[in-house]
């Protein structure tokens, strides 16, 4: 069985709605509270994915995107 790889095509139904939910959750939070919320959210999603390979890919993708835009 081939190892599943990260889905990088557009996959979110109602992207604007999702984005609005995300921002709404942060409404009125301090920077520290927002950071904490993001961290919890990330852990919840990571657990749901549950595939070390996928998560590694996602971490690499996020990290390399950062470097491209900042160097």
């Amino acid at each position: 069985m081939p190892r599943p790889s990260l889905n990088l095509s557009a996959n979110l139904p109602d992207p604007d709605g999702f984005y609005a939910d995300l921002l709404a959750a942060h409404d009125g939070l301090s920077k520290a509270e927002s950071d904490a919320l993001n961290a919890r959210l990330l852990l919840i999603l990571a657990n749901h994915i549950g595939e070390r390979g996928l998560l590694r890919e996602a971490i690499q993708l996020a990290a390399s995107t950062y470097r491209q835009n900042n160097t």
Partner: protein, 534 residues
């Protein structure tokens, strides 16, 4: 009352080696009578290899230091003849509890499984542990084994030669020269041997201080490991409470990096901290207070010709995980049978290279685990603290987050996957007993499996016809035939769904190879491989 660590156990006595006109040559010399050096000496003496320990002190470790001794250590002690003494005195525990701020967020059980002779852990002051090893040494000496400890014998200089090691030893009556065919350096984290031979010791320093206090109090906290993240009595830091025998409790408080170490150790500063933690009305006495920092590091190689390094001399980890003394005992467990085979000429010297491979592998695993625990317990950046707190916040109500909580991954023996001595595996058999792993204990013949493994190689036969012994050159393996028919635990651990299996088990109780049936040539070649003959 005088404490055991205040009394000389092996006071200096003049030895005839000091009066010899030409330096005496000894088979094996061990530097250091800590837990690791004494375990090595016992193991070798039980294999009839003469051994001398030199120590610059004359008594057991000052203060408790190590308190948590793992199941594997207890199994090794059983083989060394002092498991019962330690377990009877120690406090047996399996359970832990984690607090975050004021909330009790999580409990765990380290051994949620029956069918093992020994518990996951006992707590015992290091000075008792050393005392029992010392008593075992005396017992072996009384039974005629060539084993001795020379107190207040400090090694001052070392010269490594192709066929021996030259030692200059300082005593209260002056110095003398001693030669060793083999030298085991168990001289602790600051290993003078390492320094004298100019060897490296690289790794990561953790910039944090911990206050460690052993207090004597009558308290009814349960026999559990209690760990706090960010408690009200030690804001922003961690804390640990753990029970030892004789109403002694270990308290460990993280202090941070920028502190005045001498001031923090003074009772007028320590006592208010402890009262904040234990409650104002709890009465206690301080037995031992110390401040420690730690490093995670290892030597690049543990073998340098005829000098072998073991224990803290070879590697150091953070105390979270209780991997210091426990891994040191796994070093000597791995080393001594190999060294004995080399000394008796039954295996080539190259067998010792596998000590280096296997225990470097073990040290790396321990360093990785203890570094990860440390990064969780003492977050080093703002974002790592954010993630750490997110895990702890989620844990209280969601089981999924619990495995992420890392208050110290407590010592378990490592499996030498792909180790140089491993022979064939058979995939159909259970993964937990694959080659490289420690043979898992199980009930057997009304007793315990590990107690029935011999001092040499064992051929564990489960439903397989095999001869009483199989040899490869001078080394042989002795059969232990067991019936797993009525024994579900043994069957689950060694057969999986299979009807029969044959395991070749090394003298240190690690599995070397396994099959579903007996083939003499296959067993002989696995035995030759596992004893370094091929």
């Amino acid at each position: 009352m005088t404490k055991i660590f205040e009394v000389p156990l092996y006071p200096y006595q003049r030895h005839k080696d000091q009066d010899a006109t030409t330096p005496v040559r000894r088979k094996v010399v061990i530097i250091g009578a800590g837990p690791v050096g004494m375990a090595a000496a016992i193991d070798l003496a039980q294999r009839d290899i003469p051994v001398v320990i030199l120590d610059d002190n004359d008594r057991v470790s000052f203060g408790s230091r190590a308190i948590c001794f793992s199941k594997r250590t207890l199994e090794i002690l059983d083989r060394l003849g002092c498991g019962d003494a330690n377990v009877e005195k120690g406090v047996t525990w399996n359970k832990g509890r984690v607090f975050f701020d004021t909330r009790d967020i999580y409990q765990f059980d380290l051994l949620p499984e029956d069918g093992h002779k020994r518990p996951a852990f006992i707590n015992l002051q290091q000075y008792f542990f050393e005392q029992f090893l010392f008593e075992r040494i005396q017992e072996l000496a009384a039974a005629g084994k060539e084993i001795e400890i020379r107190g207040r014998n400090r090694v001052e200089a070392i010269g490594a030669h192709p066929d021996h090691v030259r030692l200059e030893v300082e005593t209260p009556e002056g110095s003398y020269e001693l030669h060793a065919e083999w030298l085991i350096a168990c001289d602790g984290a600051n290993s003078p041997t390492r320094r004298m031979l100019g060897l490296d010791f690289v790794g990561r320093v953790f910039e944090d201080n911990f206050l460690i206090a052993d207090v004597i109090m009558k308290a009814d906290f349960p026999t559990e490991r209690w760990f706090w993240f960010d408690p009200p009595f030690n804001r922003g830091q961690s804390a640990l409470l753990h029970k030892q025998p004789d109403d002694v409790w270990r308290i460990d408080l993280q202090l941070g990096w920028d502190i005045d170490r001498e001031a923090e150790k003074r009772p007028e500063n320590v006592i208010p901290r402890l009262k904040a933690m234990l409650g104002e009305d709890v009465e206690f006495d301080l037995e031992w207070v110390s401040i420690y920092t730690f490093q995670c590091r290892r030597m690049e190689r543990f073998r340098h010709g005829r000098v072998l390094f073991a224990g803290d001399a070879a590697h150091q980890v953070s105390p979270f995980g209780a991997r210091g003394a426990n891994s040191g005992l796994q070093d000597t467990d791995n080393l001594c049978w190999k060294l004995a085979l080399v000394i008796t000429g039954d295996a080539p010297e190259t067998l010792l290279e596998s000590y280096d491979w296997e225990r470097v592998y073990g040290a790396d695993e321990n360093i990785m685990n203890s570094t990860r625990s440390t990064d969780f317990i003492t977050p080093k950046s703002e974002i790592s603290r954010v993630f750490r707190d997110a895990v702890l916040d989620l844990t209280e109500n969601h089981d999924f987050a619990r495995p992420l909580v890392n208050s110290g991954r407590l010592s378990v023996p490592c499996t030498y996957d792909d180790g140089p001595l491993n022979g064939p595996d058979c995939d159909a058999l259970p993964a937990r007993t694959r080659p490289g792993s420690v043979a898992c204990d199980a009930p057997a013949n009304g007793g315990w499996l590990l107690d029935q493994l011999g001092a040499g190689f064992t051929l564990l036969s489960l439903g397989v016809e095999s001869p009483e012994s199989v040899s490869a050159g001078p080394v042989s393996a002795t059969r232990l035939a067991l019936d797993a028919g009525e024994n579900d635990t043994l069957a689950a651990r060694y057969l999986g769904g299979q009807k029969a299996a044959l395991y070749l088990i090394r003298p240190d109780q690690h599995v070397a190879a396994r099959w579903k049936s007996f083939d003499e040539t296959a067993v002989q070649s696995a035995l030759a491989l596992a004893s370094g003959q091929s």
